[in-house]
Amino acid sequence: MTPSDYVLRDLEVPPPVIDVPDDYLHADQSLWSWFVTTDHKRIGILYLVSITGFFILGSIAAGLVRLSLVVPDGEIFTNDVYNRLFTLHGVIMVWFFLVPSIPNTLGNFLLPLMIGAKDLAFPRLNLLSWYIFMGASLFTVFVMVWGGVDTGWTFYTPLSTQYSNGWVLAAVFGVIMVGFSSILTGLNFVVTTHKLRAPGMTWFRLPLFVWGNYATSLILVLATPVLTIAMILLFVERAFGLAIFDPDHGGDPVLFQHLFWFYSHPVVYVMVLPGMGVMSELVTAFAYKKIFGYKFIAFSSLGIAAIGFFVWGHHMFYNGESPYAGLTFSLMSFIVAVPSAIKVYNWAATIYKGEIRLDTPMLYAMGWIGLFVIGGVTGLMLASTALDGHVHDTYFVVAHFHYIMVGATVVAFLGGIHFWWPKITGRMYSEPWGRVSALLMFIGFNMTFLPQYVLGYLGMPRRYHVYPPAFQPLNVLSSAGAVVLAAAYIFPMVYLIYSLWYGERAGPNPWEAKGLEWTVPSPPPKHNFETIPTVDFEPYDYPNVIPEA
C-alpha cells in the first residue's frame, strides 16, 4: 500500500458499529476462555504477550549493562550487581525470548493455517507447554532478580557448582523446566507438519516458513534433552554433592562444556531458522515474485538443522581441547555456513526483477539480509581456529552473536509481526510509523554493535565490569546506540497497540500475498477453514510476468 493511497482517518466519523463476528478473537471474550483455550491462534497470542514482557525485562537488563559500561572503572554498579545483570540479560533473552519468539508466536498461529489444518496435532499439549513456559520463566526471573545469579547464562562449572553464592540451584531448575516447554512445542510442530497437512499439500507445496519451523522443531526436540541432563547433573552436583564435574575429585569441567554446547549451538540455529522462514515469506510477498530456488532453501533449512549438531566444539578451541578435535569442529563450522549463504543469495535473487513495495516488513527484510551476512561472515572468522585465539570471549564474539540474534532473529520477528498483524488482529498498523521504526532500528543496532567488533579485536574481554580507559570512547558510542535501539523497540509497541483499536480494518489479504493463511478472513474463524482446502497450487504462485497496469 504505497503512501499515496493511504487515507487519513476522518476523526469526526464515529467508528462503525461492528456486529460481533465469530472469529477466534471475539468468539468468547471472557478472560477464562483465554487461559483454558486450546486454539493454537490464542496460544500464539498468549506467547506473544508473555515473550514481549520478557523482552522488555531483558532489554532493561541490557540497558543497565550498557549504562554501567559507560565508565571504565565501573562505579555505577558493584561488580556483583553487574555480573547478575548480564546473567539476567542472557538467561531471559536466550530462553524466555529468543527460543520461543518466532516458533511459539508466529509458528503457533500460522502453522495450522499454512498447512490447511484445523489445529495442531496435540492442542492440549500446546496449552500445557505455555503453562510450563510461564511457570518456569516467571519463577526463574523472580529468582534471578530477587536472589541473583552471577555465573552468566553459560553456568560454567566449577564456578556454578562450588564457587558461586548466587541462587544457581533455583535458576538451573527453572531452565530445566523451560526446556520441557521447548521439547513439547517442538514435538507438537514436528508431528503436525508430518501428519496434519491438507490433502494435496505435499512437502514441496509447503510455504518455506513451515520448512523453517519444522527444522527448528527438529533441533528443539533433539538438542534440549542434552541441556536438561547437563543441568540436572549440575543441579545434583551443587545440591547433593554428587561430584560429576568436580575437579577436586578428578572430574572434568570441560565435560560440562561439551554437554552444554551440544545444546547451546544448535539452539542458536533454533533462534535464526524461524527468522529465515519469515524472511522467505516477506521477500516473496513484497517482491511479488516466486521464490528463487525453493528446493535449495527448503533443504538448506534441514541442512543447517543437521550440521548444526556437529559444530559445538568451536566454543572450546582454547580450553585444552585436542587440536584435532578443534580442527574438525572448525571444518564443520565452515560447512554449516554454506546453507545460510545459499539462502541469503537466493533471497537476493528473489528480489531481483521483482515488483518491490518498500513497506515496513520489506525494510526489515532488507535490513535482515545485510545484517545477517555481516553476522555470518564474522561467525566464520570466529570459526577459524587461530583467529579465535585472539577474539574468543571478547566483545568480537558479543558483537557477532548480537548481529545474528538481534540483527536477524529480532528483525525477522518484528518483520513477521508487522506482516501478519492484519491477519492476527484484523487491523492495519500505520505504515509511515512502521518505516520510521524499521530505519531507526537499523541505525541504532549498527551504532550499538559495530563498535563492539572493534573493541573485540582490540582485546576487550567480555563480561568485564571494569576495562582499560582507552576503550571508553567506543563503549560510550555503543551505549548511545543502545538508547537509539531501545527507542526503535518502543515505537512498534506503541503504534501496534494503538492500531488494535484505531487501526483501519484489514481485509483477508491486505498485501495480496499468496498462501493458505491469506485465504481465510482476517481474524480467522475459530476452526480456521470451513472445509479443509485441497491444495493444487504451487507455493508462492505469484504471476511469472507482471500484467502491465
Binding site: 566449577p158 562450588q162 535449495f296 580450553n319 577459524s384 585472539h390 570471549d393 568485564y464 565490569h465 571494569v466
Partner: protein, 318 residues
C-alpha cells in the same frame, strides 16, 4: 585498578610476536573478504529497490524460479573461498599447540581474582609477568578453583586454566614493551580485576630484574597484593562498610579481647587470628570473620603477616 594508564586509544592492538602479526594478516584478509561479500549485497538490494520499485516500468521478463547452475556456484564458490581460511588458521593453530622443546617454562596459577606466575628461578610475581624478548616461553597454566583463562591480546593468544589439569600456551615475544594481560573466562565477582601486565624486556633487563625480583619485591609488597586478593581489604580498611578491627600500627600493640583478657599482637597472634578468627575475638567486635585455614597456603600467609606488620601508624588505603 592495574590497567596500563598510558594505553593509547588506537584502532589496532599492538602486536608483540611474529605469530600475532600472522593472525593480524588473517584478520585483515578476512575483513577484505567480509567487505567483498557484504558490499555487493547492500548495493544490489539498493539497486533493485530503486529499479524494480512497484509501479516503475522495468524489464521484468523471463524471471526464473530456479537455476541450478547459479545456485550451485554461489554455494560452492564462497565455501571454497572461506575454506582457505580454515587451512591457513589451522596451520597456526597446530603450531600453537606444540611448543618448541627448548622453551623457557613459566607456571601460571589462576586463583580467584589473581594470577601468580612462577619463574624457573623460583621468583614469583602476582598479576604481572616479566619475560625476556626473543626467547620461546612456555606457560603451563593451572587453576586452583574455577575456570580462568590467561589472555594476552598483544600476543593474540589465550588458554583456559582448567582446574585439575595443566593446559599450556607458548609464545616468542619479539618486541619489548608493556602489554595488558587479562582473565577472559568468567570466574566470579572480580573477574575484571584479574588483569595485569606483560613486560617484555631485553635479555639483560630481564636478568637484573630476576636478581632484584627476589629482593625488591619485599615480602610486604607481595603480601599487600595477597591482602587484596584474599579479600582482607574488603573489611580491614577504614572506608569498608563492614565494621572490623583496624590493623593500623597493630604489630606489638596490646589488644583487649572480648573475654576481658588482653594479648600482645605478635605475628603468631596475627597468624592465629587469620586461621581461627573466632578463638581470640577483639573486644567490641562480632566474630564474623571467616576462617582462612586451608585457603591460604603458608608461603602466602608469611607474606600477608609481613604486610600486616609493616602497617605503620596511619594505614594508607590500598
Amino acid at each position: 585498578m592495574h590497567f596500563l594508564p598510558h594505553y593509547p586509544a588506537q584502532l589496532w592492538p599492538p602486536a608483540a610476536s611474529a605469530m600475532a602479526g600472522e593472525i593480524d594478516t588473517i584478520f585483515a584478509v578476512w575483513c577484505v573478504v567480509l567487505f567483498m561479500l557484504v558490499a555487493p549485497v547492500f548495493v544490489f538490494m539498493a539497486y533493485c529497490a530503486v529499479k524494480y520499485r512497484a509501479g516503475r516500468p522495468a524489464d521484468r521478463e523471463h524471471r526464473e524460479a530456479r537455476n541450478i547452475r547459479i545456485e550451485m556456484t554461489w554455494m560452492i564458490v564462497p565455501f571454497l573461498i572461506t575454506l582457505v581460511f580454515f587451512f591457513w588458521a589451522g596451520t597456526i593453530y597446530l603450531q600453537e599447540n606444540n611448543p618448541p622443546p627448548n622453551a623457557m617454562e613459566i607456571t601460571a596459577l589462576g586463583r580467584q581474582w589473581m594470577w601468580k606466575f612462577q619463574h624457573p628461578g623460583g621468583q614469583a610475581e602476582i598479576n604481572d609477568l616479566h619475560v625476556p624478548v626473543g626467547v620461546p616461553i612456555r606457560v603451563n597454566i593451572e587453576s586452583q578453583d574455577v575456570v580462568h583463562s590467561l589472555y594476552i591480546p598483544a600476543l593474540r593468544l589465550q588458554e583456559e586454566a582448567v582446574p585439575g589439569r595443566t593446559t599450556e600456551l607458548w609464545f616468542k615475544a619479539d618486541r619489548t614493551g608493556a602489554y595488558n594481560l587479562y582473565c577472559s573466562e568468567l570466574c566470579g565477582a572480580d573477574h575484571a580485576l584479574m588483569a595485569g601486565t606483560l613486560y617484555v624486556m631485553s635479555a639483560s633487563g630481564y636478568q637484573n630484574w630476576l636478581k632484584q625480583a627476589g629482593a625488591t619485591q619485599t615480602l610486604a609488597a607481595a603480601g599487600k597484593q595477597l591482602f587484596d586478593s584474599y579479600g582482607c581489604s574488603g573489611c580491614h580498611t577504614p572506608n569498608s562498610t563492614v565494621r572490623a578491627p583496624s590493623l593500623a600500627g597493630l604489630y606489638g600493640q596490646v589488644v583487649p579481647l572480648q573475654d576481658g583478657t588482653t594479648v600482645v599482637a605478635t605475628d603468631a597472634y596475627i597468624r592465629d587470628s587469620i586461621l581461627e578468627p573466632k578463638k581470640q575475638v577483639v573486644a567490641g567486635f562480632k566474630p564474623v570473620m571467616p576462617s582462612f585455614a586451608g585457603t591460604i597456603p603458608d608461603e602466602d600467609m608469611q607474606k600477608i603477616v609481613a604486610y600486616v606488620e609493616s602497617l605503620g601508624g596511619s594505614q594508607q588505603t590500598p
